[in-house]
């Protein structure tokens, strides 16, 4: 069984505070105020950059080294999952179709 440690609990509390801070960011102060222009523009680009920075290495690298074979189930699952998203605009479908590609290749063919 996995064990609990204080470092991870500290991270969890920190992430909870991040949720509160970001979701209520502009309600915290009663005064009306605005972000500087560059920061407002940056808000357009940072969320997708953060997701991409986490997601892409998890799909195309093994321990940080770019995969050199096309026989990797993650590549096919990601392409199919993203394709279904743009077709049907449904994140759930991305997960289901991606896993429907991933599991047979991974468990069936042992990739």
């Amino acid at each position: 069984m996995n064990h609990t440690d204080f470092w991870t609990l500290g991270i969890i509390i920190g992430l909870a505070l991040v949720t509160v801070l970001t979701r209520s960011f502009f309600f915290i102060s009663s005064k009306s105020w605005q972000l500087p222009h560059w920061a407002q523009r940056g808000l357009q680009y940072a969320p997708i950059a953060a997701l991409s920075a986490v997601v892409v290495p998890e799909i195309v690298t093994v321990q940080g080294v770019l995969v050199t074979t096309w026989q990797d189930p993650r590549l096919f699952a990601a392409v199919v999952g993203a394709g279904f998203y743009f077709w049907r605009r449904d994140v759930l479908l991305t997960i289901l179709t991606g896993m429907a590609v991933y599991l047979p290749l991974h468990l069936g063919l042992g990739w």
């Binding site: 997701l51 997601v55 990601a78």
Partner: protein, 243 residues
């Protein structure tokens, strides 16, 4: 804030619940998988439960999991969670005029409980903030009902996922569903060419800079992508300003 009687007794509360209900299975599937992913990453039952109940933000939870496993420093994990959550900062700016008549703790509680789907449904239902106290109360009750069913679907499904995780062997690689979920959210944010550029640059930079210690590649990738996009905007202000 479904625990306030002035909200849950209001007829708009049930309307809010009813209108989010078609989304409920999707939210539950995402919660289920996040529950599985947390336990499969090596978190204890207590840690996974605390994360579910306190953090209540699927994308930042899923983004944090590989970083926690890699032993990244706390500030890198929190900064990544913050960046993934920056979309909520945009939502909070939009929701501000609807909530400013409330005391601060109530505003912040509404904000904490309002995730992507509730924000979208609420602002679609009420394009303008209420003008009379009755209208404001109805809007607040609708939001609370919407948030409640969304919250309940997420929490219950996450706990089911935590419970089921031990029955599924790690070799199945089910944790990959978490990455696919983040990929789907990423696609949903790809609403302009400039955002696609941001995603492409960040993805390449995160791989190129992978050997940096402390998972700093994530922070570097976000910074490079945002700075590059802001620079491109400056160079082509007219054609890209709508991004």
């Amino acid at each position: 804030m479904f625990f306030l009687s002035r909200l849950y007794r209001h007829p708009a509360f049930v309307v809010g619940m009813r209108e989010v209900s078609p989304q409920s299975p999707g939210i539950a599937a995402w919660g289920l998988m996040t529950g599985v992913a947390m336990v499969k990453s090596g978190m204890s039952l207590f840690e996974a439960s605390a994360m579910t109940l306190l953090v209540f933000a699927g994308s930042s939870q899923l983004a944090a999991i590989p970083l926690i496993v890699a032993g990244a420093p706390a500030w890198v994990i929190l900064a990544t969670g913050f960046c993934v959550n920056l979309r909520f900062v945009v939502f909070s700016l939009h929701l501000r005029p609807y909530l400013m008549h409330l005391p601060r703790w109530q505003r912040m509680f509404h904000g904490y409980l309002t995730a992507d789907i509730s924000y979208v449904l609420f602002t679609r239902k009420y394009p303008q903030p209420g003008e009379t106290p009755q209208e404001r109360l109805a809007q607040e009750a609708y939001l609370a009902g919407n948030d409640f069913l969304n919250w309940a679907s997420w929490i219950v499904a996450s706990f089911v996922g935590i419970a089921l995780a031990n029955l599924i062997p790690p070799s199945w690689g089910l944790g990959f569903a978490g990455i696919l979920c983040l990929l789907g959210i990423q696609c949903s944010l790809a609403s302009s060419r400039m955002r696609i550029l941001s995603a492409a640059v960040a993805g390449v930079a995160a791989v190129v800079a992978y050997s940096l210690p402390l998972k700093l590649n994530i922070v570097v990738a976000i910074a490079v992508a945002v700075i590059l996009c802001l620079t491109v905007e400056q160079l082509k202000p007219a054609s890209k300003a709508q991004a």
